[in-house]
């Protein structure tokens, strides 16, 4: 695993009013990274590169030409090879997890997933509600893939049966599914059956409702509470209701040009709105709730490809065959800006001829330009080209993974470590240390992990010995040293200034007076904190000793499996459950053998 150290900026873990008892402010990196996956038009290969450092590049072999989809929030990429009956999968190497006020980003190399799918003509892909659903148009089924497992490089799938094979899709709605439905009229040879509507079905394929008419059903997208799908008579919307999916046909209004329909749809992720084509030269902004449901935008030329702006829901972008890119304002349903960015690509000929494809990467539009052998980077604000990336062959279908986030796994700046002549007293995985781990990584620990003679750091805080630590936090954080001191004043506060642990005996010293008791393991509890990170409390219950000694003690030291502690936070009391809710006061202990200066050094180095 390698990391991107560019654009590193120190960011304190704590924001205003922290509630989490994390004792250290690790320096974090704010990382923005977009990774572009491009499928070649002619050759069976997919090229991936990092947008701003395109020399970081990987090539993957496939069976045939791939249409690419970034799924599961960009953690994985699906390569659908319709003409070659194959689907390959890649982990993008970038995972993003939203945590309220920020996102976390994790970056590794992209990799091909060993397992793949084969089957008759895979086509439409839907990524919704943790499921990636691929329709096999000549198989009469859809494969449902677990998105989370896919993000970990595992392919776990089940099949959803359809009544008759057709070019269609299946999508999860609440606890049920909806699937497009083909006519049961016989067809000549291997001609595809016509498509008549949409139907709710159970996971076993059994109908769960009537077929809603949607003639020629094609194209689908999710936005907000709705799925929308294109039909000859209008756009059918589907939402989850208490008695199963609710389907409603939004008919094309009279003021739209006649004889056209919507067959391709995009759904916004941050506003409940769809953008669809309307014929070859028109677009429609579709509002599933408020009227007018359709607002029509006529384009100067036929559309090559279009995309919605993930960063600013107001805008979409559309490339027309004259080689112009247009910025579309969805709120006002108008083209607000246009710029010529490539040579013309006529829409005459086959739909699958090599033509540009668009994708978004933050505030840039990335566009494959097969004839030029380039991926172009275009500013979404100005529509000016900000760069090009050469890609061998004919770059065609394109998908982008990535975004911005905080890299919790990043180590603090190397020079800082050196400057403080720091040596870790315990060997920890920094991600676990930050509170990001899987349950399977947690293991029981024995009291011996905390054996030793320990001092409270609260007196050091009170005496001002820890002032340099607070200054250091203030320099790298968003609060003043005074605010940090106030925070730690609450966190460290205790009158137990020394603890010794030997065998099963724990002795608490309160103003020099000992209180001794024996403890045995009582398991552990996993806590989820405000930031979305987690911690494990290792709990020990009193088995004998002083009456006044606490019934429970709970250790928290950022480790989740057996290892000797370098320091720890200790919670104690007689109510096991109440202690778990204590997250503001976390008396903290370092080895008694360390002096104040050494503890300061340890704290700053973390």
């Amino acid at each position: 695993m390698f990391r991107y150290l560019a654009s590193a900026s120190a960011m304190a873990l704590m924001t205003n009013g922290p509630v989490f008892a994390q004792e250290h402010d690790h320096d974090h990196e704010d990382v923005t990274l977009y990774r572009v996956f491009v499928g070649d038009h002619a050759d069976a290969k997919v090229t991936a590169f990092d947008l701003t450092e395109p020399d970081r590049r990987w090539t993957f072999d496939t069976t045939g030409q791939s249409k690419l989809y970034a799924v599961d929030n960009g953690s994985a990429v699906v390569a659908v090879q319709s003409n070659d009956d194959a689907v390959h999968f890649f982990t993008s190497g970038i995972s993003l997890h939203a945590h309220g006020d920020h996102a976390d980003i994790e970056v590794t190399e992209p990799a091909a997933i060993d397992q793949s799918l084969t089957g008759p003509r895979p086509f439409h892909v839907i990524d919704h509600d943790g499921k990636v659903v691929i329709n096999f148009d000549r198989g009469g089924y859809a494969e449902i893939i677990d998105g989370h497992e896919l993000s970990h490089g595992e392919l776990e799938s089940t099949q959803l049966k359809q009544a008759r094979a057709h070019h269609g899709y299946a999508a999860p709605i609440g606890d049920l599914w909806v699937t497009s439905v083909a006519s049961d009229a016989p067809v000549e040879g291997d001609a595809a059956p016509s498509r008549v509507g949409l139907q709710a079905i159970n996971a076993d394929g059994a109908p769960a409702g009537d077929v809603a008419t949607c003639t020629g059903i094609h194209g689908e997208a999710f936005s907000g509470a709705f799925l929308a799908t294109g039909c000859d008579e209008g756009v059918l919307t589907v939402s989850d209701g208490s008695d199963g999916p609710i389907m409603k046909m939004l008919e094309y209004p009279d003021d739209l040009p006649t004889g056209e329909s919507t067959g391709t749809l995009l759904g916004s992720k941050s506003m409940q709105v769809f953008l669809g084509n309307y014929g070859a030269k028109g677009l429609v902004v579709i509002d599933p709730v408020d009227e007018p449901h359709f607002r029509y935008v006529e384009l100067p030329f036929r559309r090559v490809d279009f995309v919605l702006d993930a960063a600013n829901a107001r805008f979409g972008y559309v490339l027309t065959e004259d080689g112009s890119l247009h910025q579309l304002d969805l709120l006002n349903a108008e083209v607000t800006k246009s710029a010529k960015i490539t040579e013309p690509y006529s829409m005459d000929g086959d739909w699958n001829d090599p033509r540009p494809r668009l994708a978004m990467a933050g505030d840039e539009i990335v566009m494959s330009d097969p004839n030029a052998g380039l991926v172009r980077r275009i500013s979404s604000e100005s529509l000016e080209e900000v760069g090009t990336v050469e890609v061998e062959g004919q770059p065609y279908n394109i998908a982008v993974a990535g975004g911005s986030g905080v890299d919790h796994g990043a180590e603090a700046d190397e020079h800082e470590h050196e400057a403080h002549d720091h040596a870790h007293s315990h060997d920890h995985d920094s991600k676990i240390y930050q509170g990001y781990f899987d349950d399977a990584q947690i293991a029981e620990r024995q009291l011996s992990d905390w054996a030793g003679d320990w001092q409270s750091v609260y007196p050091l805080l009170q005496d001002g010995v820890l002032d340099p630590v607070m200054e250091h936090k203030a320099e790298n954080g968003d609060q003043s040293a005074e605010e940090y001191r106030a925070y730690y004043e609450i966190g460290y506060k205790t009158d137990i200034d020394r603890i010794t642990i030997e065998g099963d005996a724990v002795t608490f010293y309160q103003a020099g007076k000992p209180l001794a008791a024996q403890y045995a393991s009582d398991g552990f509890e996993v806590l989820t904190y405000a930031k979305g990170n987690r911690g494990v409390r290792f709990i020990f219950e009193k088995t004998g000793g002083d009456e006044a000694a606490p019934r429970f003690i709970q250790f928290s030291d950022h480790a989740i499996a057996p290892q000797d502690a370098g320091h720890y936070h200790l919670y104690w009391g007689d109510d096991r459950a109440a202690l778990l809710e204590e997250v503001t006061n976390w008396p903290t202990y370092y080895p008694s053998s360390l002096d104040g200066a050494q503890i300061v050094k340890e704290m700053i180095a973390h």
Partner: protein, 309 residues
């Protein structure tokens, strides 16, 4: 309700018919949810044209913003939000709208409470959804805090429309007196209850400010385990807590379905004692169509349930 273009056009129509003759253009105000909308209407009176995004009986946590919301923000003079990460949809909506209106955070000046588990649970369609946040956003559940909201609204309106300032301040002063009276009513209603009858159960922990201000303890499933296991794991703990504390009643909430509460009620041997209004007002025909009515309804529901031995 459907045609938002007409509705937005109606803003100016309302202005002409309802506004005073001195002001052709009312102050265009957007409030993120119904409780803030009621405060704004009290302070703004006829001088404002108000649009509330998240309507009655709706949960702001799962709200899906619409294009018409973005257009309303773009045209607004004043935007009122609760803050404390209550309106998760707002930042992207503000970005899409390109609005230049000032965003007034009404909890500014409220002494906010920390969230003990780093967040709280919402219950949507039988599923527990964790709403992460360092601070408890439901500050309006104490009438004292509501006064801070109202003061902030008056200041925002005055800043945007100086000529109406006197009117806003007069409206606010009258309403603050109502809030003082409300505060007194709640205190005496709770004080009249037997001392050992002060604990109730809710699903969504939205009443901690009420609890701190008025001394009724609200138990709810606590969020300390992982998301997928939250509902099951925490319910067991809650049942134990209910038995230990001898909680007096269990309440549904207007923004949540009752599945989880019915389960808790069954296991704890309690029937639902009624509905409390937490994050949204009722519709105009309901018992909580204004903030004052909501707080009185909640207080009466608590007092009735806890008075029964």
């Amino acid at each position: 309700m459907k045609d938002w273009l007409t509705r937005i056009a109606a803003w100016s129509a309302i202005a002409i018919s309802a506004g005073s003759a001195l002001h052709a253009e009312p102050l265009k105000v957007v409030a993120t949810f119904s409780i803030l909308g009621d405060f704004a209407a009290e302070v703004g009176g006829e001088r404002i044209a108000l649009r509330t995004l998240v309507g009655p009986d709706s949960d702001a946590h799962v709200y899906e913003p619409r294009p018409s919301d973005a257009i309303a923000l773009a045209r607004a003079d004043v935007i009122l939000t609760n803050g404390l990460e209550f309106e998760g949809f707002m930042s992207r909506l503000i970005a899409a709208s390109g609005t230049e209106a000032p965003i007034t955070v009404l909890t500014e000046g409220v002494e906010s409470m920390e969230e003990p588990g780093g967040g709280h649970y919402h219950y949507v369609d039988g599923r527990a959804i964790f709403h992460a946040g360092a601070h408890d956003p439901h500050a309006w559940q104490s009438a004292t805090n509501a006064k801070v909201y109202v003061g902030n609204i008056a200041a925002a309106f005055c800043a945007a429309d100086a000529s109406g300032c006197q009117s806003y301040e007069a409206n606010a002063a009258a309403y603050l007196a109502d809030l003082d009276a409300l505060d007194g009513e709640i205190r005496s209603a709770i004080a009249a209850l037997p001392g050992d009858r002060r604990t109730v159960v809710v699903a969504h922990n939205a009443f901690r400010y009420f609890e701190t201000a008025y001394g009724v303890t609200f138990l709810s499933p606590q969020g300390v385990s992982t998301e997928s296991e939250a509902a099951a794991a925490d319910v067991a703990g809650l049942i134990r807590q209910i038995r230990e504390t001898g909680a007096g009643a269990i309440f549904a909430e207007n923004i949540s379905d009752t599945r989880l509460l019915e389960q808790i009620g069954r296991e704890a041997g309690m029937a639902l004692a009624g509905t409390l209004y937490s994050d949204a007002l009722s519709g105009p025909e309901g018992p909580a169509s204004t903030y004052l009515a909501m707080m009185r309804h909640n207080t009466a529901a608590l007092a009735t349930a806890l008075a029964i031995q």
